[in-house]
Amino acid sequence: MISGLITPAAGGPVIPTFGKSSTCVVQNHQFCMSWFLDNFSSRFQPRLLEHIELTAIAVGVGMVIAFAAALLAHTQSWFETPFSLLAAFFYTIPALAFFEVMVQVTGINRLTAEIALVSYTLLILFRNTLTGLRAVPDDALQAAEAMGLTRRQTLTRVELPLALPPIMAGIRIATVTTISLTTVAAYIGAGGLGEPIFDGIQTGFKTEFVAAGFLAVALALVADGLLVIVQRLLTPWARRVRRA
């Protein structure tokens, strides 16, 4: 779906005619399971994979940038304010508007979508990483210094592991929001699950956009759940605290 007018079909729905349509499809019910199952591998699976890929790239690139920025801000505190302001600015622009403006600059393609998606992840990832680094208890740092850890050893063995819970929480939020925004990115031709949603809304074929909507919701919830599990595995100490 390329930029253009998308409005719900004015007349009756445009039903795709792939072989013999079932009554469910012909009468355009809310959701036709058999059509969905028949068409999953051809129409939905590739979009789903695209969606995951777009999200992974955006969060990955965003994490690299945000992490480097947070490390810099951790040592050079002047850097925090300008970077935060920039990231907060990106963050507050409504997505559809951001995509449309970026299209004027970099054209209709995946790169445009990724630039916008990465921009959205920065604020969360930067803030959580920096907060995590700053929340490392002073006594642990003092102990590390007193036992002769070098600056680098202190960073890798003490500060980063201790900053992990908020960093992981940030990655989790960034991932689910990116999954959400990626659906909108289909509007500028990035692909992903937004494509069958826009397509279905335009043709009026309910099963298509309802199915894609549910897939996107499921993807977000599954990703959220998986990241919670990863977070718990990575930070086993966080839950094992003595009850006073």
Partner: protein, 331 residues
């Protein structure tokens, strides 16, 4: 740092000063004293007197402005700073256990830096845990957050002793722990120190703790050393009014705690049949003996060793012994 020859190093402060920019008075001013090998030296004084600053200059957490601190004659500035620190155990009030590491990994922090094998670290961690009174089987894999404050400080002590450093620096280590647990930790630490002698500098603001823990006590005020003496000397003959008021008006009573009945010349044991007297073991302090005299309303106690009477002691004997020593100390 010489780790093979554990427990036999001397620490010397030589005219050590610390000045901070923009502040007229020195935080530590020309501090000189020596800690003999294997002894516990307590630094004490009112807050802001420079005791913690002095302590932290030994492992260079704070840089020395003037003068030098030597360990067995070698300047602490002669070593690379991380090397120096890895050879000095450090225990402080906030403990500073790494919450994300198991107890074993916490204790193994410095050994890992020194490239010890996993098996060796585990064995050492287990050994140290039982030494500080925790259970190696159950506790090695747990995380610091699962322990009480007192237990955490035991782990802190074990971690500081991981590579058997000849020196330990302790900055109000038991300061944040409730009185009963603190008493136990102090006793256990003294017992531990008798087993593995180390040269220890111990900072506190609690005079009772200082008297209990210290072989020697250095009283500081405004960055300067006011008096450096054994606990007994300090109580018997304070150098000036400041020290006298700092150790307290009851220093005579405190002193009774420093002495044991062993330090007295006992009267001969009563003939058999004098069992009616209350009895006290020879290893107990004069304070305990006095307390027993008062509570029993007796004039005399039988002193026993391993349950057998070896002599008797009277109230007069206690007071005159302390008074006599005071005269000799003052002379």
């Amino acid at each position: 740092m010489n780790q093979a020859d554990s427990g036999c190093v001397e620490i010397a402060f030589r005219e050590v000063s610390k000045r901070y920019e923009g502040r007229p008075e020195a935080a530590v001013n020309r501090l000189s004293f020596e800690v003999p090998p294997g002894e516990i030296c307590v630094l004490i004084g009112p807050s802001g007197c420079g005791k913690t600053t002095a302590l932290k200059m030994v492992n260079r957490l704070i840089a020395i402005t003037d003068g030098d601190i030597t360990i067995d004659g070698r300047s602490v500035n002669a070593l690379e700073v991380t090397q120096l620190r890895r050879g000095i155990g450090y225990v402080f009030q906030q403990i500073g256990l790494f919450p994300h590491m198991s107890v074993e990994a916490n204790i193994g922090s410095v050994p890992r830096l020194l490239g010890w094998s996993k098996q060796r670290i585990r064995a050492r961690a287990a050994e140290l845990l039982s030494l500080v009174g925790l259970d190696p089987d159950a506790d090695l894999r747990r995380y610091p957050g699962e322990f009480s404050g007192g237990q955490q400080q035991r782990i802190g002590v074990a971690r500081a002793m991981a590579v058997d450093p000849p020196i330990m620096l302790m900055d109000e280590p038991f300061g944040a722990i409730d009185p009963i647990t603190r008493e136990r930790l102090q006793d256990d630490f003294l017992r531990l120190h008798r087993e593995v002698r180390k040269t220890i500098i111990f900072v506190t603001h609690d005079i009772d703790e200082a008297i209990k823990m210290g072989d020697r006590i250095a009283i500081m005020r405004d960055g300067q050393l006011v008096q450096y003496a054994t606990s007994d000397e300090l109580l018997a003959s304070p150098a000036n009014d400041f020290v006298a008021s700092f150790v307290g008006a009851d220093r005579g009573l405190k002193r009774l705690r420093v002495w044991t009945l062993r330090d007295l010349t006992l009267d001969p044991a009563p003939p058999a049949g004098g069992d009616s007297l209350p009895s006290v073991e020879v290893g107990r302090s004069l304070r305990d003996a006095l307390s027993l005299l008062l509570t029993e309303g007796a004039g005399q106690l039988t002193v026993t060793e391993a349950g057998k009477p070896i002599g008797t002691v009277t109230l007069e004997a206690i007071t005159s012994a302390v008074a006599q020593d005071r005269n000799t100390a003052a002379a």
